[in-house]
Every structure is written in structure tokens, then in C-alpha cells.
């Protein structure tokens, strides 16, 4: 197992280098002058002198040849330095360090809620069939098709604006006020979890249905085992491999795509930082967020590979 993880990590580092290079090339080729955006922001109509533009380029290091910028950036990466934000003039590592825990916390809670609820719902639908199955199908269709910003807006309207039982959005750190922190988490967690729960429920149901037809399940029943035991040991466990795959992919995708829920609930996460970075052509922020997200994605996939081994011993041997 150790060698397996080591091998996957080596591949991950190689992948990360490719990501760094591709992202660096990509941001350079996108039109838009970062120095100009630093000076004009969202709409400075004052006169921008050529001297100010040149001074800003020099300050940002944009006057250097591209290759020099790339080598300098790679050198920084080796020491854990992701550069300075063009807009904020703060180390990108600090900006990410401030946002990443918020994103990870949101996603972690969403993952726990969605996986637990999704597996339970999917298994229940597969077991009961009939009306339960139809009901779960209807609900999961609704959950998958409801855009997170629509659901989020409805939740805010009902629970914050109308009933006033929860805050409309914002952020308070756990250290400052744990109760307020949890209150602020409730609506975004629900908004994101609904879609993910629906996906996991559908995959679980399909997988359970397929597994239920396998020979070893029939064999287990022929041994006279109770149905709950058969379901738990022979069906559900063997149905979870595709669920783990889908859940890992979805959670990985969430790492960089929670921007809508972050906007609706003013939750200061990584996605907003990335979107704002793109809008401002803040190269170091764009590169930094993508690299960190890619690294996390790779780590999650390694963890899932390990989980495969736990769920199915054959995977360890292969």
C-alpha cells in the first residue's frame, strides 16, 4: 500500500508540474492588461499616464521576458511561494490560506451530509421499489435540476427575509462566534447538498439494483442469511465503489466551483477568489488557486484509490 501511495504521489507531482505550466501559458495568452486593470479597476475614468502604466508593469514584474517570469515563478513554487497578488499586494499563499479552510469546511460538511443522505435514500429506494422508488426518483430529479443559486435564493427568502430565523449570508469565524458560524453554514450547506445528495442517491440506487442481481447475493440468501444482513454485507458494500468514484469526482469539482453559492451567501471561499482573480487578470492569484485546487483534487483521488482497496480487496492486488 505504501508503494502504491508513493507511486500515485509521484504521478501527482508530475501532473501538478504540467498544470503549473499550462496555467502559466494560459493566463499569459488571455487578452487583458493586468497593469491597466490595477490602475483602472472597475472604472477609473481619470487620466492614466504612460509613466504610471510603465511603473505598474515594473512593479508587477510584467516588464520581464515571459521565460524569466516563468522560471522565477517555478523557483518560488519550490519554496512554497505562490507570488504576490497584483491587486491586493499580499502573498497569494496568505489569500488562499484565508479562504481555503472556509471552502474545505463547506465541502466537508456537504460531503458528509450528501454521502450519508444520498446512500440512505438510494438504498431505500432500491430496496422498497414502488412508490418509494418513484418518490425518490422525483425528488432526486428535482434536486439535480434545481440550480444552486435558485435554491439558495429561495432558502434566503424563506428563512432569512421572511421567517428571520437564519442569517441571509456572510461569514463569522468559529473563533469569534461559534453559534453564528454554524448558523451561517446551514443554508449554504443545504443549497449545495441537495444536488450532490440527489446524484449520490441515483448512483447508489442503480448500483444496488445491479449488485442485487449478482450470483453471490443469491448465494448469500440461499445460506439462509437474514435480508438485512444480506443487504449490508453482500449488496451495499459491493455497491459503494461507483458511489465512491462519483462522490470523489463531485467533491473534487466542488473545490473550484462553489462560486455561485459563495456569491449567494457571501461565503468567502476559494472559488470567489479565483473568479475575482480572472476578472482582474491577477495572474498569481489565478495560478495559485488552480495549483492548490489541482493538488487537492489529486490528493482526493489518491484517497479514493485507497478507499477502493478497502471496499474491494481485489483492487489492492491490481
Amino acid at each position: 500500500m505504501f508503494l502504491f501511495i508513493l507511486k500515485r504521489l509521484s504521478v501527482g507531482v508530475g501532473l501538478l508540474f504540467i498544470v503549473v505550466t499550462l496555467v502559466f501559458i494560459a493566463v499569459q495568452t488571455v487578452p487583458g492588461d493586468p497593469a491597466m486593470i490595477v490602475l483602472i479597476g472597475s472604472g477609473n475614468t481619470s487620466e492614466i499616464t504612460p509613466e504610471a502604466l510603465q511603473a505598474t508593469r515594473e512593479q508587477l514584474g510584467l516588464d520581464q521576458p515571459i521565460l524569466v517570469q516563468y522560471v522565477t515563478y517555478l523557483g518560488g513554487l519550490l519554496t512554497g511561494n505562490l507570488g504576490m497578488s497584483f491587486e491586493n499586494r499580499q502573498p497569494v499563499t496568505d489569500l488562499i490560506a484565508a479562504r481555503l479552510p472556509n471552502t474545505l469546511e463547506l465541502i466537508a460538511i456537504v460531503a458528509v451530509v450528501s454521502i450519508a443522505a444520498g446512500i440512505a435514500l438510494g438504498a431505500w429506494a432500491a430496496q422498497r421499489r414502488g412508490a418509494v422508488n418513484s418518490g425518490v426518483t422525483f425528488l432526486t430529479s428535482l434536486g439535480i435540476s434545481a440550480p444552486v443559486y435558485v435554491l439558495g435564493t429561495v432558502l434566503v427568502f424563506v428563512f432569512a427575509v421572511t421567517l428571520r430565523v437564519l442569517p441571509a449570508g456572510g461569514f463569522t469565524s468559529w473563533a469569534d462566534d461559534p453559534v453564528r458560524h454554524l448558523q451561517l453554514l446551514i443554508l449554504p450547506v443545504i443549497a449545495v447538498s441537495v444536488g450532490l445528495t440527489a446524484v449520490i442517491a441515483r448512483v447508489t440506487r442503480a448500483s444496488v439494483n445491479e449488485t442485487s442481481q449478482q450470483d453471490w447475493v443469491r448465494t448469500a440468501r440461499s445460506w439462509g442469511l437474514q435480508e438485512p444482513v444480506v443487504f449490508r454485507t453482500a449488496v451495499l458494500r459491493n455497491s459503494l465503489t461507483p458511489v465512491a468514484t462519483v462522490a470523489a469526482l463531485e467533491i473534487g469539482i466542488l473545490l473550484g466551483s462553489t462560486v455561485l453559492v459563495e456569491r449567494v451567501f457571501s461565503w468567502p471561499g476559494l472559488s470567489t477568489l479565483l473568479v475575482d482573480g480572472v476578472a482582474a487578470r491577477d495572474y498569481p492569484v489565478i495560478q495559485g488557486v488552480i495549483i492548490v485546487t489541482a493538488a487537492l483534487f489529486i490528493v482526493i483521488n489518491i484517497l479514493v484509490d485507497v478507499l477502493y482497496g478497502v471496499l474491494d480487496p481485489r483492487a489492492r492486488q491490481s
Partner: protein, 521 residues
């Protein structure tokens, strides 16, 4: 701004331009002060939901709405604006206009920055000299570049000499970006967070908010009633409005137009809006049909401003048929009634210009700001009516600005506001170095001369003559086509008193009035 300081401005108001500004702005709307007698609340902690993260301030530079708001809270310059948009003394206890090229200021005694370091005439001179350097990228560079020297005869007296008359100079000094700052902030690297304004930053959380507390060393601290301001970042307009509706915050900026009616329908809330920034058309005047002033004038006459108002701004705009000079003495027909909506006349102009069957063109409008893209779509339909077959190009904002500054476009719809309520704001819009603001390649020496003559005119009559000449040239040349002023709204709980949405382009400086605001029971 305290009544004491407003009295002091009477001395400066003897100067005709400022007096006119004061008189006209007295009639402007936007104040939300309640007139009823109310008890001040024990809790004077305001929560302010703003439309995005406060930028890291860079000394002197214009960083947009959020930069101005932050600067208005933590900084002050020699001068400032009161609730009517009148220029009033701030760190300067008083000032004299020796002549229009010489301004003398007397500082309050005992001024300090938030870090306790003293503010003397030398501090002021250092700041002004920095703002006058081309490398600083200062917002008021158009005026500050004309500073020839700053004398400091004693610790409290500052005398600024310009190389030419400039009647708008006090307004440039009142801009929140022209704040006086410590020497350590006079560079592009150091965050410009130490000021001498009414509030000081005590905490900033990335992506979350900024906490400010009243600064007891502020020159007018006795009149500041708010103990603290908790600024919270809500980038999404609906989220911001919901935060106000749910009682999470007391005040929000940038109220989305579609939310105006919701706010107005809540008796516990107050909406205050001002006609502020513009949506306008710019041209590449170096080649093609838009190099011809007649074609540009045809565009000015073809665009249905009312349609834009209805479809883009939910009826919350103010159509412009010339150049907007909000709230000032030059808000006159000569400036504001240059064109009328007349598609038939526009077709005739096109025919006279040699395009009886119209032509095809590409219109750029950034997709990053939905209202600009929607305005572009409206303009596209109007131009089709007169035979101009427009293809829409909708890049994001950085791409748009780069293309516009490089002349990689034919016709564009863009937005922006002036930095002062005075025709002087037009200078970078109608000439100067290529930028995303002006029409590429347009440069009319006669127009530049007329605008400069207006800025440096020694008396009101000469100013009127010069600016009227400029307006005549603008009508004739149509370098840009201003379409509409969009309503810029703040909304707040009715318990907030004394907050004012400043008139015209000054709307973005409205946080200045929080120095005079309070919360009631």
C-alpha cells in the same frame, strides 16, 4: 461635515464658481436624514454591507467605488465635501484662494494620523508632491501635475502654487483619493491604510469584512457619533439586499435597480439614489465610417435613451442628450440638449456622410457588467433602424479596456463617471492619451483649448464663454455619445440618520457623510 466648518467655507464661497456650486447643489436630492426628533440609540455600531471586498488602497489612485468608500471612512484631505456636494475645509481649518493659481491652507492644530504621528505642513507638501508625480497614477493628476511648488512657511500653513489658473483645484483636493497620508504611504507598495479620517481600521478579514472604530484624534471627533462601523462584503446585489431586508446590516451600497421597488415598499427602510455614472458610446475615430463626425452625430440621434432606461435600468436612469454636468452651474441646455432622438434625421445625416444604405460595423460592450452589455444590445437595435448593421462583440472587462486603449474596435458602449461635478471631468474623456475612456484617435486642439480655458478662467463669464465654446465643438464633433446616467442607490434602515447620498458623480464619496451619521432608537 459639522456646521462650524460649513460656516468657514463662506469665505471660500466668495469665489464665484464655488458659490454657484454651493447654490445649485443645495437643491439636489439624496439626503436621507430623518426630520423627526428621535432618541439616539445606545448602540452606535453600524453594519455596512458593501458591494465587494475593500481593495488594498494605493495612495492617490482611483480604485473605484469600494476604494472611494474605504478612503472616505479612514482618510481626509485638506478639503472635503459636505452633504450637499459643497467643497468644505477638512484637515485645513480654512483656506484662501489667493488667485486661481495660488491656494493657501491653514491646518487644524494638533492633527495626527491614526498611528499617532503628527500632521504638519511638511506632511501635506510631501503628499501633494507625490500626487503630482506622473508615476503615482494619482486620480487627480490632471490638476496636480500643474503644481509647481508647495510652500510651508510654518507648521500649519501650506501654500500651493500652480503653473496656471485652475478653478476646479479645490474639488480635486476634496476627492477622497487626495487624502493626506504619512510619508511611509507615499509609494505604490505600502497599503494606504493609515489616515487622519474619522474611522480607523482595527481588523480586516480577507473576503469577509473590515472593522473600523471611531478615531478620537480626528479633527472633528466631537461630532462623530458612530462608535464603530462593521463593513461586510456582499458582492452579489441580491445577497446584499437580502442582508438589509433580513436585518443583518443597516446600510448597503449599490442597490440593484430591480430591488428599488422592494426597498421602497418597506416602511422600515430608506432608499436614496442619485443620477450618477454614465453609459456612453465611444468610437474609433481613426478609420472607417465613425471617423466622420456626421456619422457619430447620426448615432447620437439614433439611440433611444428611453428604451435603455426601461429595459436596462428598470426606469431608474436619467437620459442624456448632450454631456451631463450634474448639479453644477453648467447643467444648462448648451451642455445637456445637444441632440434629440430622431432616427429620420439620423438617416439623413448618414446619407449626407455618404452612407445612404448604411453599413456594417462591430459594436463592443463588456459582458462583465450586464447593464453595459444590455445597453449595447439596445444600441444595436437602434442602429439597425437607421441602416447600421451591427454585430455585437462582448468581451470581459480587461479585454474590453485593452482593446479600447489600443483602438481594436469600431464602436463601443462603456460606462463610467467623472470624479467631480464640473466640466473639467470631461478632459480625459474627450482627448489626452489613448485610454479605454475616450474615443480612440480623437484629438481636437480647439476643444482641448476651450476646456482648458474654462478650467483656468478667472471669472464666471469667461468660464461660461469657454465652456459654451467647448460644448459647441462637442456637438459639432460628437467625440462620444453620452446616453444615460444610471441611478446609484444606497439603502438603509430608517434608524440611520445623517447619511447622505452625495449628488451626481460624488455619489461614490457618500461614505464621507457617515462622519455625521448616527443610529436612533
Amino acid at each position: 461635515m459639522s456646521r462650524r466648518n460649513r460656516t468657514r467655507i463662506l469665505k471660500a464661497a466668495a469665489f464665484p464658481a464655488l458659490l454657484a456650486l454651493a447654490l445649485t447643489s443645495c437643491s439636489s436630492a439624496g439626503s436621507s436624514s430623518s426630520s423627526g426628533a428621535t432618541q439616539p440609540a445606545d448602540d452606535q455600531n453600524l453594519t455596512f454591507g458593501v458591494s465587494g471586498e475593500f481593495p488594498v488602497l494605493k495612495t492617490g489612485t482611483n480604485q473605484g467605488n469600494l476604494g472611494w468608500t474605504q478612503a472616505a471612512l479612514i482618510h481626509r484631505g485638506l478639503l472635503s465635501y459636505d452633504e450637499t456636494g459643497e467643497v468644505v475645509p477638512a484637515l485645513a481649518k480654512s483656506f484662501d484662494i489667493v488667485d486661481l493659481a495660488t491656494y493657501s491652507f491653514t491646518l487644524h492644530e494638533g492633527l495626527t494620523f491614526h498611528d499617532g504621528s503628527p500632521i504638519t505642513s511638511t506632511t501635506v507638501a510631501d503628499t501633494l508632491n507625490y500626487l503630482a508625480s506622473a508615476e503615482s497614477g494619482s486620480s487627480g493628476y490632471a490638476a496636480f501635475q500643474h503644481i509647481t511648488s508647495v510652500d510651508t512657511p510654518d507648521e500649519l500653513t501650506v501654500v500651493v502654487h500652480l503653473d496656471a489658473n485652475n478653478s476646479s483645484f479645490p474639488q480635486y483636493l476634496a476627492d477622497p483619493t487626495a487624502a493626506i497620508v504619512p510619508e511611509s504611504s507615499l509609494n505604490a507598495e505600502t497599503p494606504n491604510t493609515i489616515g487622519a479620517g474619522p474611522f480607523q481600521i482595527v481588523d480586516q478579514q480577507e473576503g469577509v469584512g473590515t472593522t473600523l472604530e471611531r478615531f478620537d484624534g480626528y479633527y472633528d471627533a466631537d461630532n462623530v457619533q458612530l462608535d464603530s462601523i462593521d463593513v461586510r462584503y456582499y458582492a452579489d446585489g441580491t445577497a446584499r439586499t437580502n442582508a438589509l431586508l433580513s436585518g443583518d446590516v443597516d446600510l448597503i451600497d449599490y442597490v440593484p435597480w430591480e430591488q428599488f421597488s422592494t426597498i421602497e415598499g418597506d416602511s422600515n427602510l430608506v432608499l436614496t439614489s442619485q443620477p450618477g455614472p454614465l453609459i456612453y458610446v465611444q468610437f474609433n475615430t481613426t478609420e472607417g465610417p465613425f471617423a466622420d463626425p456626421q456619422v457619430r452625430e447620426a448615432v447620437a440621434m439614433a439611440v433611444n435613451r428611453d428604451n435603455i432606461n426601461t429595459t436596462v435600468l428598470e426606469g431608474n436612469g436619467t437620459p442624456v442628450y448632450g454631456v451631463a454636468i450634474p448639479g453644477g452651474e453648467f447643467d444648462t441646455p448648451a451642455a445637456t440638449e445637444m441632440y434629440e432622438y430622431d432616427p429620420e434625421a439620423a438617416k439623413e445625416l448618414l446619407a449626407d456622410a455618404g452612407y445612404p444604405d448604411g453599413f456594417a460595423a462591430e459594436l463592443s460592450a463588456t459582458s462583465q457588467y450586464a447593464f453595459l452589455q444590455d445597453a449595447g444590445i439596445s444600441v444595436q437595435a437602434d442602429l439597425a433602424e437607421i441602416g447600421i448593421d451591427v454585430t455585437l462583440n462582448t468581451p470581459d472587462w480587461p479585454t474590453y479596456t485593452q482593446n479600447a486603449a489600443a483602438g481594436n474596435y469600431e464602436i463601443g458602449v462603456v460606462g463610467g463617471g467623472g470624479t467631480l461635478n464640473d466640466p473639467a471631468y470631461l478632459v480625459p474623456w474627450l482627448g489626452g492619451a489613448a485610454s479605454y475612456v475616450n474615443s480612440f484617435g480623437f484629438d481636437d486642439p480647439a476643444l482641448n483649448e476651450a476646456l482648458q480655458a474654462g478650467i483656468s478662467a478667472a471669472d464666471t463669464t469667461a468660464r461660461e464663454d469657454a465652456y459654451n465654446t467647448a460644448f459647441g465643438i462637442i456637438k459639432e464633433q460628437t467625440p462620444i455619445v453620452q446616453l444615460i446616467q444610471r441611478a446609484q442607490g444606497f439603502a438603509h434602515t430608517a434608524k440611520l440618520e445623517g447619511f447622505t447620498n452625495l449628488p451626481g458623480f460624488l455619489t461614490f464619496y457618500s461614505a464621507l457623510s457617515l462622519a455625521d451619521a448616527s443610529l436612533s432608537e
